[in-house]
Amino acid sequence: MNLASPLSLAGLAAAMALLSALASLLTQQTPSLMRRLVMPALGASGALALVGGVLALLGGQAETLSLPMGLPWLHWELRLDVLSGFFMALIGAVVIGVAIYGPGYAREFEHGNDSLPALGGFTGIFVAGMQLVVLANDAFMFMVAWEVMSLSSYLLVAFQHEHAPNRRAAFLYLLMAHVGGLSILLGYGVLAGFGDGFSFEAMRAAQLSPGWASVAFLLAFVGFGMKAGLIPLHVWLPEAHPVAPSHISALMSGVMLKVAVYGFVRFTFDLLGDFQWQWGVLALVIGAVSALMGVLYALMQHDLKRLLAYHSVENIGIIYIGLGLSLIFLGTGHALLGVLGLVAALYHTINHALFKGLLFLGAGAILHSAHERDMERMGGLLRRMPWTGLFFLVGCISISALPPFNGFVSEWLTFQAALQAWALQSGVLRTLLPLAAAMLALTGALAAACFVKVYGVAFLGQARSRPVRRAREVTLGMRIGQGWLAALCLALGVLPTVVVGALNGIPQQLLGQGLTQSTAHGWLWLTPVSADTASYSAPFVLIGLMLAWWLASTVLRRGAVRKVRRCDAWDCGFAPPNARMQYTATAFAQPIRRVFGGLFEIEEGVSQGEDGRERHSLHVNDRIWGWIYLPIVRATNAAARRVTLIQSGNVRIYLGWSLGTLVVLLWLIS
């Protein structure tokens, strides 16, 4: 096959990632190789993935390649079709940013006892694993790649394992990842049981009874939801994502969750086929709950990375809302609207990959130059790190779904999908969908609140601690890495028509139907269903805003006094404000905490510090943990304690067991 074909590019991408993993073994002796060899290789992998993915996405036809690996009767087979092409491109886009950003960030590990080979190596394997998951064309290879992805990311979570919380997080992550993996495996098992064998072709051909189809769907939903971080399966996510090195957090939150979404889409829309609207309802409800709870928990955080991790839960929720809508429409026979939901979900998928990656890189930049993750100790960073500040602002606007950035477009599409509820027969569904849309609206508004808090507390105002006051702008590479993602955020926000046009290939392939109308009126106009139902022209919006700003800033200023005098803040004439008088993140979230108090487990109190001062302490905990997970842990430990009674230590009792077993067996067979 020719080397320029998308698939071979994608394959090369995975190979390059593995290569960078190998290369990083050399960094033990010469740390500088991290900068000079490992990260460039990773970037190359990303670029190849991006190119190959985009080509496949536009090319539209699938190609396969069989590798002499795996089981003797089931060789690994790579397959690059439109869907996997899209996700390859997504992975590539973020990986490029990370690879440009990485060297500067990894420099701090060159001295100190964290091992660079581990960092580079596992990163490479991690990326390769994700790319292979997307490329896999049989359940076995899929599971191998999937678990490799989990394992390597687990090792990256445990990278700085001196800190006990990191170890705990890694353990929890590994455990839940394993549960999820097994659940997925079981789901594939059901499909394989009805089809013949574990190759995806066989599974597509499989004819399932509705009952078994639902079982398979549930297994897949749980399995992929576990990785994607749907509530209530999300508890590992806010623990694990923050403790990894920031560019890894960007990969985990930005890309790995999307790989989970890929798995779900591949499983449900491609392999499973004939849809039932009840699935959609499940996805919709869980998605809506995840979105709302995710953003609410995020609002309660003051650890920046943890906050971002909770926002991943929120955005995954939004994606699943889109998928749920799609399933509902498909299940009730409205193919076109189903396509709309799917496209909205996929659009949000790539958007979230971009801006969440961007935000994590920004958080990493802060961590890198101020060594601070706690927002309560930040402040005024915009003046110290203007570029990071700018890019972070872009991220904030995008994730808050504000025009003209990308986050808005996908949420707009989701709304459009939800608003087509009138097409449905059942009145219940017709009310459910707008309700979900209202939840989505609430989520969006709360997200905006949350990021006003983040940006206002971290980047605006005055510095709240010395290291933050000393913070300096990060290296050029780290800035470019962020800038790349920021630029993409804007581009996807302004040119939605192009993106949707490209995305169209996916439903074409999976469902045999695309959004015929969406781009019917040229690249300027996004008209998902039809022109008079709804239309959105992002370029014009951008132009309009620019125009208005220009108007306000020039026309109105004509004649006005131009110069600006600097002096102390007025603040209603109180004493000039100092850093400690600023509104803190906790204070900012207090009204919301009070309004939604029932959802959190709040421990608030005043304690006597060792220096005799009174200290106010506030802990907001996840209720889910106590509701679901602790009981399981207790049950396991109790069972383990019971079981140890077999091993009493007295040899006579052991003999008794032996005799008893014999007698019982003899009695059984007689």
């Binding site: 402040g379 005024g380 915009l382 606007i397 808050s400 504000l402 025009p403 808005f408 459009q416 608003l419 009145g427 017709r430 009310t431 707008p434 309700l435 849309a437 209202a438 609206a441 969006g444 508004a445 905006a448 206002g456 507390v457 980047f459 605006l460 105002g461 005055q462 106009w525 022109a531 008079d532 139902t533 709804a534 239309s535 959105y536 022209s537 309009g544 805003l545 208005a548 306000a552 109105l556 200023r557 004649g559 006005a560 006094v561 600006v564 005098r565 600097r566 002096c567 102390d568 803040a569 007025w570 209603c572 008088m581 509104y583 204070a587 979230a589 009204p591 919301i592 009070r594 309004v595």
Partner: protein
């Protein structure tokens, strides 16, 4: 969809944008006037807001040492976003090219964008009041947004479109129907509008009493042209909601053809509607007292409930209607 090469359409859009920016202060003045009348005061002249704006534009701007570029950019962004939002709403006529550029959801997006930067500006200087105002503003808007969208969804679902022109057209074509869903939606949207525009009982634009401020707290540090832009934006926002309410629920009189006569009619009608709305607002503000911040959620839940009722009654009572 409307043709975009029709210059009159664009001219009209530009015209109504100007009308918005020009008329907004007048509306405020009108409301103030009625209020003071109701309180047995003479009240300021109807031109007072214009004079205030002129004065502010004339003054030099003062900024705190700690203020960042965001603080400086915010007024322009807020004003711009609000203005663009306003340009999307059919004021005099339906056939607006701009309504195709941005539908009602985008409209909400524009307002959210403005709010986002307003709140950031509040946080920027790092005063306690600014933060307080931002925090409260975001809470209120967060609670208001679902109610607002729910109300709008009620309309859009019966109109099968989120394009404001189409919605209004739909209502016009349907003729005068007494729809329970619209009734509830209207009430819900009214409450939302009160909350979003920072009027009593949610917020009191006339006070600088620290603990009750919301909007004022955020623009506390502004002065000169910056302040002017912020104030102006707020006024436009108020008018925007007024027009939205009146033109969506009672669109009669709005020009569906682009000739001078109907446009003039449209102008007269909209002025009348806004005048009435202003009176209602003034009356309600005189009879109702400002409520504690933590009563606001209840207020907005009521709004949401009303909108939800609207949606339900649409689904249950008006299917196929």
């Amino acid at each position: 969809m409307v043709d975009f090469l029709n210059p009159t359409g664009w001219a009209l859009a530009l015209l109504q944008m100007l009308l918005f920016s020009a008329g907004a202060p007048l509306l405020i003045a009108w409301v103030k006037r009625i209020k003071s009348r109701l309180q047995n005061r003479r009240g300021p002249s109807l031109l007072q807001p214009y004079q205030d704006l002129r004065k502010l534009f004339g003054k030099e701007a003062v900024m705190a040492h700690t203020a960042s570029p965001v603080f400086r950019a915010a007024p322009y962004i807020v004003f711009g976003a609000t203005l663009v939002a306003a340009s999307v709403i059919p004021l005099l006529a339906i056939e607006l090219p701009t309504t195709a550029i941005a539908d009602v959801i985008v409209l909400v997006g524009f307002l959210a964008l403005a709010r986002f930067f307003l709140a950031l500006a509040g946080m920027d200087v790092g005063t306690s009041f600014g933060g307080m105002g931002a925090s409260r503003e975001m809470l209120i808007s967060a609670l208001a947004e679902p109610a607002m969208l729910m109300a709008i969804f009620t309309l859009t679902m019966s109109a099968h479109s989120t394009n404001l022109s189409s919605v209004i057209e739909h209502v016009l074509d349907a003729g005068l129907l007494l729809r329970p869903s619209f009734l509830f939606a209207l009430l819900g949207l009214l409450l939302v509008a009160v909350a979003e525009t920072g009027r009593i009982p949610v917020d009191n634009p006339a006070t600088h009493l620290e603990l009750t401020m919301v909007h004022e707290a955020m623009i506390l540090e502004y002065s000169g042209r910056h302040l002017a832009l912020m104030e102006w934006a707020a006024q436009i926002k108020l008018m925007l909601y007024g027009v939205l309410l009146s033109n969506i629920f009672l669109p009669w009189g709005i020009a569906s053809r682009l000739d001078a006569g109907s446009l003039l009619l449209g102008l007269v009608v909209i002025v009348a509607k806004l005048a009435v709305l202003g009176v209602i607002l003034a009356v309600s503000e005189t009879v109702v007292a400002k409520m504690r911040l933590f009563r606001v959620p209840a207020f907005l839940n009521l709004a949401f409930m009303l909108s939800l009722l609207g949606m339900l009654s649409h689904v249950i009572l008006e299917v196929g209607a």
